[in-house]
């Protein structure tokens, strides 16, 4: 399959930080509506991979493709407008806005076809930004009671859920989740898994970085293992976990 057929693809992506090489000639293609997982040890380059795809980080060499076009040099903002959204390993929301306002700001961009103009923003009342999806998500994430408190006061779990809500409300084409389950209770994780299955699967491609591997089992239809900036295994959940290379370079670390 060539990059032109994949929704999102990277070719020979390389990035160095001094002696560290968190992306060493990575080739990866994500198909439409695919739900894929990426696992790997700490410092393997998983987050760096997301940074390269979202434009927070420019590769030393190699290219990033989206819908057949080369987006390697595009600004982060342009990539978002094309339909790539992500969450961060450290949940990133607007601490000084209340929970609904966070969601409203995220939704408004979608409402304005991805490109909110200054004039439009100026003339639109914030409380006027509402929709059934906002209500549904606020309800579904269990935010009904905290809707009007500042996001800075939320628990880590709630921040993560809020960030997720802000990402999926825009119905992106590709959703990149960086350790969405970290720091959450079992209950909260299964809530998020359900949310991803019901609301996102089949409508968008999802790429999930996780250390809590077993939670990916029912969720992903593909799993890759990244070690030292290189993809050492790629296949179904079972295949990836049983691949000899992955066992050698990743499981060894865990089993020891």
């Amino acid at each position: 399959m060539s990059s032109e057929e994949a929704l999102l693809g990277v070719e020979n992506l390389t990035k160095r930080f001094g002696a560290v090489c968190p992306a060493n000639g990575v080739n990866y293609k994500l198909r439409e509506n695919q739900v894929a997982g990426i696992i790997g040890p700490n410092g393997a380059g998983k987050t760096t991979f997301f940074n390269l795809v979202t434009g927070l980080c420019i590769p030393d060499s190699g290219n990033v493709f989206f819908q057949g076009g080369d987006i390697t040099r595009l600004s982060p903002q342009k990539r978002v407008q094309l339909g790539i959204r992500r969450t961060f390993q450290l949940a990133s929301v607007f601490d000084n806005l209340c929970v609904v306002d966070n969601i409203r700001v995220a939704y408004y961009q979608k409402q304005r076809a991805g490109r909110p103009s200054l004039g439009g923003m100026f003339l639109t009342e914030l409380v006027g930004v509402h929709s059934e999806t906002i209500d549904e998500l606020t309800e579904g994430m269990g935010f009904a009671n905290v809707a009007h408190t500042e996001a800075g006061g939320l628990s880590l779990g709630n921040k993560r859920k809020l960030e997720l809500a802000m990402a999926i409300i825009a119905e992106p084409k590709v959703l990149l989740l960086d350790e969405p389950f970290a720091g959450l209770s079992e209950m909260e994780i299964s809530q998020i898994v359900e949310m991803l299955k019901n609301r996102c699967a089949g409508k968008m491609s999802i790429l999930i970085i996780e250390h809590k591997i077993t939670w990916l089992k029912d969720l992903v239809d593909r799993l890759s293992v990244l070690v030292n900036g290189e993809l050492v295994a790629d296949g179904t959940y079972q295949e990836a976990l049983e691949s000899p290379q992955a066992r050698k370079s990743y499981w060894k670390l865990i089993e020891e």
């Binding site: 992500r86 607007f94 601490d95 806005l97 700001v105 408004y108 200054l118 923003m121 100026f122 003339l123």
Partner: protein, 324 residues
Amino acid sequence: MPRWLKRYGDILLVFGAVGLLRLALPVPFVIHAVIFAIYTMAFSFLIGRLGLVSFGQPVYLSIGAYGTGIYLARFGTNPYAGLFVGVVVGILFSLLIGSLLLRLTGDYFALANLALCAVGFFFFQKALVSVTNGDTGLWYLARMSSTPILNLRQPNNVFVLALILAVLVWLLMKYIDSSVYGAACLAVKGNETKLQLLGYDTFGVKWLAFVLANATAALAGALYAIYFGFVSPASMELVRAPEVIVAALLGGAGTLYGPLLGAFLYIAMQDLVSTHVLYWELFVGIMVVLIMMGDEKGITTWLKPIFRSGWQLVSRRPKITRTP
């Protein structure tokens, strides 16, 4: 209570009170304080809503003042036209400067503004001396023509105009607070990268805010220029940079009443203290330190509970008890 009264009742109250102050206090004081309040509101918006601290605000104030002053001294005589010119010059200047300085962040932005202020002072005092008369300044009070309504040759009318403009600026700030744009400004302050990654043009958001705030500062400068009838480089001396910061923080940055309160308190203290104390600046310095020990919301943080309990005292109705 009708809806408009609910929404704008507070502003009627506050500015009504300012209007009444005019009857009780010396005219020069209230005029000075109201114009200074406009200047402070603009800065408070920058720092409180956008998180941008600038140590060079006098330059934006003075650009407006010189726009008006040069027009009235060399080109026209109508003070309203002068006011208009001052604001337009302020807008153009902040459009240009914003496009350059907003690429800097945090402390660098604050210091670059300081440098800009120093450069501005040099220009108006030395480099453009043929236009600005250097330290002597431009004097045009006698040239200003009378207008049929709200004749600005009379200080009383300057007060009325300044009060009207202060209300309009206040309404603008209040409106922005309720708009998506206002939320975007706060979002820039809280987490600019995140806003970018939601597809927003954060530079545009900052640029517009910068221009709005500094054009408002220029408006204040233009009003000063008309009230005093002269302009000189003294208005952009670097030692004057902290005054608007102190006033904004005194009242509480990013709040709606804070800048008004801060401006009045500041000017009052300046008038009282500087007549008795030689080194008024020392006093300002100590105040800055004291304010910095509090937080961004300034004295309103401890005034609010006092007002609230005071209000409860006068509005107490015996039967209604509110459960928390």
